[in-house]
């Protein structure tokens, strides 16, 4: 997706992917998926970090998993809002991390050039990802660490 950009905003399609998996399979699967996808991105993309995106998407996956099997998980609005919120959390998390590393960006430039275009593009391109994910994964079902033994 780095080839689709408006100003400095790039759509975050990892966020809706993690959200749809978490919201349909629960906290544990969401967290593990977020960790794996974040790590994969850091290994396959020239971002110069390891573990940062994995941590951010892990938190997103774990949080969104709490909505599994609730009424909200059967509509498209909730995952869409969560996807945009996840993209927002990711951008702010990366911004904090970059500030800690000494990379500066003005607040207004960050909001106007990066944050708003990223959120808008994510909102625009998330519905297909969410629909495909829902079709592939099936109805909401919490996956537990191990089955009940009787």
């Amino acid at each position: 997706m780095p080839y689709i950009n408006v100003a400095d905003g790039i759509p975050d399609l990892i966020a809706p992917t993690v959200v749809v998996i978490a919201i349909l399979r629960g906290t544990l699967v969401g967290a593990v998926t977020g960790f794996a996808m974040g790590l994969l991105v850091e290994l396959s993309s020239p971002v110069g970090t390891l573990g940062v995106l994995a941590l951010l998407y892990l938190v997103i996956g774990a949080w969104c998993g709490r909505y599994c099997s609730r009424d909200e998980s059967s509509t498209l609005t909730a995952p869409l809002v969560l996807s945009v919120a996840a993209a927002l959390v990711t951008q702010i998390g990366v911004m904090i991390f970059q500030l800690m590393l000494g990379t500066h960006m003005g607040a207004s430039e960050f909001i106007v050039s990066v944050l708003l275009p990223t959120l808008a593009l994510t909102a625009l391109l998330s519905p297909p990802v969410l629909l495909i994910g829902r079709r592939l994964i099936g109805p909401p079902r919490v996956v537990e660490p191990y089955a009940v033994r009787t």
Binding site: P2, P46, S113, Y146
Partner: protein, 325 residues
């Protein structure tokens, strides 16, 4: 219906196990990025990342080529409206440049003679002479997914002679211009940090402003700042900024001197400051490029490869590197 003690116990164990797994993953992430930033560029995690890049880059290259026609079609359609205007201006420019070529040839001949006479290092001319550097062009196989990291990966690596801190050029309306440096190399791919990336610093100078050297670094997205230029320098907007191309402490720079980087767009007030604040707009917007040219330096002599601190290059590379000025 009340839960039985057995069910409650299993639920509690499940809950604990779930929390334990998530906590373990969080600790793993914290450990990963702590070790990653503390280790040198030759460390285990950097090595694992390079290995993954080597494995993934051929797949990324195939995927990039598969979608390239669609990207090209979109680029063609979006640039169609400007094509007629550009054609007219280019025709005028060609007429002007034809006249300048004759004069330039005479100047080049004189410059060549003077360089030989004084033993000065040659300037880079991508179309004629690369001053000992070999140009390797490759397609961009992937880019950073976040604007915080202005970087890309090209499909050539150490097996092609590419090494860390190799300069990377791209075509612009002003000719070949510097767009970044190689910050990480694997056998079949190389990561390029653009000059607009916050981690990249390049030594530069403004030829029309006098014999002063400064350090180019990114301050805001897409903009550079040239620091260290003294007040007495005659800096004006519109002047070209080129690479400095000089080393420190007896080390030769991996950058050839005189490679265009950008143009001065703003000169800040400096009533009380020692240095001028010079804002530079790069000639090339690297986000739009599909191909990049890496200048592979000649093999280093033993004294050049010696470890020493340098002023430029990637801030994130704590390992010894060449001077980047």
């Amino acid at each position: 219906m009340a839960s039985s003690p057995a069910t409650t116990g299993i639920a509690r164990r499940r809950n604990n196990l779930r929390r334990g797994i998530i906590a373990a993953l969080v600790i793993l992430c914290l450990g990963l990025f702590t070790v990653y930033f503390r280790e040198s560029d030759d460390g285990a995690l950097h090595g694992a990342q390079s290995t993954a890049a080597s494995v993934i880059s051929p797949v990324q290259e195939v995927a990039t080529r598969a979608v390239e026609p669609f990207r090209d079609a979109w680029g063609w359609a979006s640039s169609l409206k400007d094509a007629r205007d550009r054609s007219a201006s280019l025709e005028t420019e060609v007429d002007r440049l034809r006249g300048e070529v004759v004069f330039s040839d005479v100047q080049a001949q004189r410059l060549d003679e003077l360089e030989k006479l004084l033993g000065v290092e040659k300037l880079v001319d991508a179309s004629k002479d690369l001053g000992g550097y070999e140009a390797k062009t490759s397609s961009v196989v992937t880019r950073s997914i976040s604007p915080w990291w202005r970087s890309a990966r090209v499909g050539i690596g150490s097996s092609d002679g590419v090494m860390r801190n190799s300069p990377v050029l791209a075509g612009s309306e002003q000719g070949a211009a510097l767009v970044g440096i190689v910050t990480n190399v694997s056998s079949r791919s190389a990561d390029v940090s653009f000059v607009t990336d916050g981690r990249t610093e390049v030594g530069g100078r403004i030829p029309d402003a006098g014999p002063y050297f400064g350090l180019l670094s990114s301050i805001t997205p897409g903009q550079l700042q040239l620091s260290g230029i003294p007040k007495e320098a005659a800096v004006k907007t519109g002047q070209a900024v080129v690479t400095g191309g000089f080393g420190v402490k007896g080390l030769q720079s991996p950058y050839p001197p005189g490679v265009p980087v950008g143009v001065v767009t703003s000169v800040g007030p400096q009533e009380v400051d020692v240095d001028r604040t010079v804002q530079v707009t790069p000639y090339v917007d690297p986000r739009t490029l599909s191909y990049l040219t890496v200048l592979v330096p000649p093999p280093p002599s033993p004294c050049r490869a010696a470890a020493a601190p340098a002023w430029g290059g990637s801030r994130s590379s704590p390992s010894p590197r060449w001077s980047c000025r």
